[in-house]
């Protein structure tokens, strides 16, 4: 597919905001959905809609097959050892909370340490704060350097025999830093820690290989990789999942229930209590096929070109400062405009048809690290073009004209 034909897959991009055609630069919040994903959801509801796993009738059989096929597709795209390593959850946030509550909470004792970084999304901070509060464990934070990359020396020195768990973003949502997670997990494992990678911002952009990264858990957000809302995955090593207690109780996660004794179902069902987001999982399966159709190589090189181009556009505007533009960066342009508050930039850009996000991007500690309370964030995806970035540049200049 050429970039032009890629854009054609996204119906929501064919619209105008007022009299301006839409430029969508908020893919780190959620990506747009290709027609094939929307159609997969619709097809399920219009043809196969039924509950899964326990049904003997044809619709239930078709729904179950589509749901389990989606699991296989995801396992294969992300390099899991086997489909059973893929647990369907609502999103990356739920994945991390499940680890915190089902894996960490029963294992942590007072004085144990959890190590995260200063660039984490609140979803990779708060669940650990909660479990620390519950268990007396201590949250340690590896600092970020001025360019937005992780201070790896400091990270290493924070690892100790007390470190029970390490959790690190694969890609920062606020500034786009790509962390060397394979290396970081190897250090953590040497220290004896269990490793978690928050892949929410990675899977729609980079080739992710769970086996190569060799972490114990990997959190996936479906809606950030062209999939529906309300679906994501927790990838976990099979042996680790087998040892992990279930988190939620309910239908489908049990083998048998009596008031005296209840036995859990096998992995992954043990962790999928209740009716899952069936349409969401099937849509995510279609998103995987969409990604495979384009190929990560094309996606990465396209985004890297756009990133370089976009940095150029913004750096040429007086008063614009890029925040945390490290060497290994995904397609995120975080910036401030002198004398203009990000929220006002956002409104003025929206008026010009350019959708960006402004605020702390659920990464308050990182903002504080840079002495900011908010930035403007333009985030890229495979459907963006250099014209989109030109439009961004013009709109930022307009904001400066009005308020700067």
């Amino acid at each position: 597919m050429t970039t032009a034909s890629i854009v054609d897959n996204f119906p929501a991009l064919r619209q105008s905001i007022g009299d301006k055609s839409l430029v969508y630069l908020d893919s780190a919040a959620t990506t747009q959905k290709p027609q094939s994903v929307i159609d997969a959801v619709t097809r399920y509801y219009e043809h196969d809609n039924a509950n899964i796993h326990r049904g003997v009738h044809t619709l239930s059989q078709r729904a179950t097959q589509s749901y389990e096929n989606a699991r296989k597709n995801i396992a294969s795209l992300l390099g899991a050892n086997r489909p059973e390593e893929v647990i369907f959850v609502r999103g990356a946030t739920e994945a991390i909370n499940m680890i915190a509550q089902a894996w960490a909470r029963p294992r942590l004792v007072e004085g144990d340490e959890i190590l995260i970084t200063e660039m984490e999304h609140h979803s990779n901070i708060v669940p650990w704060q909660i479990v620390c509060e519950q268990t007396g464990a201590i949250l340690k934070v590896a600092p970020v350097l001025d360019d937005g990359s992780l201070d790896i020396e400091a990270y290493k020195s924070l690892l100790s025999e007390d470190t029970v768990l390490v959790s690190i973003a694969h890609v920062s949502n606020a500034i786009g830093t790509i962390n060397p997670v394979q290396e970081l997990c190897a250090f953590a494992k040497e220290a004896g820690a269990t490793t978690v990678v928050d892949g929410a911002q990675a899977c729609g952009h980079l080739q992710v290989n769970f086996q190569e990264i060799d972490c114990d858990f990997y959190a996936v957000s479906g809606h950030k990789m062209f999939g529906p809302t309300g679906i994501g995955c927790l990838l976990g090593k099979y042996e680790v999942l087998q040892e992990m207690e279930p988190w939620q109780g309910g239908g489908d996660m049990i083998l048998s229930v009596s008031f005296e004794e209840t036995t859990w179902n096998d992995v992954p069902f043990k962790f999928e209590a209740g009716t899952p987001n069936i349409a969401g999982a099937i849509g995510l399966g279609a998103a995987v096929q969409f990604i495979e159709g384009i190929g990560y190589e094309t996606m990465v090189s396209h985004e890297q070109e756009l990133l370089a181009y976009g940095r150029g556009v913004l750096e040429n505007i007086e008063g614009v400062t890029l925040v945390g533009a490290s060497e290994h960066n995904a397609g995120v342009l975080s910036f401030t405009v002198e004398g203009v508050h990000p929220h006002d930039v956002g409104t003025i850009l929206d008026h010009a048809g350019v959708a960006i996000r402004t605020g702390n991007h659920c990464a308050e500690p990182l903002m504080r690290r840079f002495g900011l309370s908010a930035t403007c964030r333009a985030s890229l995806s495979v459907y963006n073009t250099t014209e989109d970035l030109d439009r961004l540049g013009l709109a930022v200049q307009e904001a400066i004209r009005i308020l700067g």
Binding site: G18, H343, T347, T358, G359, S373, I402
Partner: protein, 145 residues
């Protein structure tokens, strides 16, 4: 389509860039803190009330143009008013920025009429007001989300 110039009237941008009432009211009889998680902004409003009359209002913290200008003009307009009058001024103001019909508000507040076309900015325009009213009531922290 909504018009940007209606939102960023000169009076608004002027008060946003050069607020007259930044700081801390002394003596401070009431204090309130407001959060707008949407912007990541915080505002602290301090008030001197004497004999049931608001004598001084100041605000501090960073905010967008709309919230800064709104805080600044609010600080101006509240001086000499009673807390009850503040409440009814806010009722009118809220109707102006978030309502549907015509409202009569003091000219200094009327400059925010453009906000109505920008629903995501209503919280910015009202943050200082929510904060001051809650301060006058009890001095609590408030959030607009």
């Amino acid at each position: 389509m909504s018009d940007l110039r209606e939102l960023y009237l000169e009076m608004v941008t002027d008060h946003a860039k050069n607020p007259r009432h930044r700081g801390k009211a002394e003596p401070c009889t009431h204090i309130g803190t407001g959060n707008n998680p949407l912007c990541g902004d915080k505002i602290v409003v301090t008030v001197s009330v004497n004999d049931g009359i608001i004598e001084l209002v100041k605000f501090d913290g960073e905010g967008c143009a709309i919230s800064t200008a709104s805080a600044d003009l609010m600080a101006e307009i509240l001086v000499g008013k009673t807390p009850d009058e503040a409440t009814s001024l806010f009722t009118g103001f809220h109707e102006l920025v978030a309502g549907e019909g015509n409202v009569d508000v003091p000219k200094k507040l009327a400059v925010f009429s453009g906000v109505r076309e920008f629903p995501m900015r209503v919280k910015c325009a009202t943050l200082a007001w929510h904060t001051v009213l809650s301060a006058l009531e009890q001095g609590n922290e408030v959030s607009t989300e």
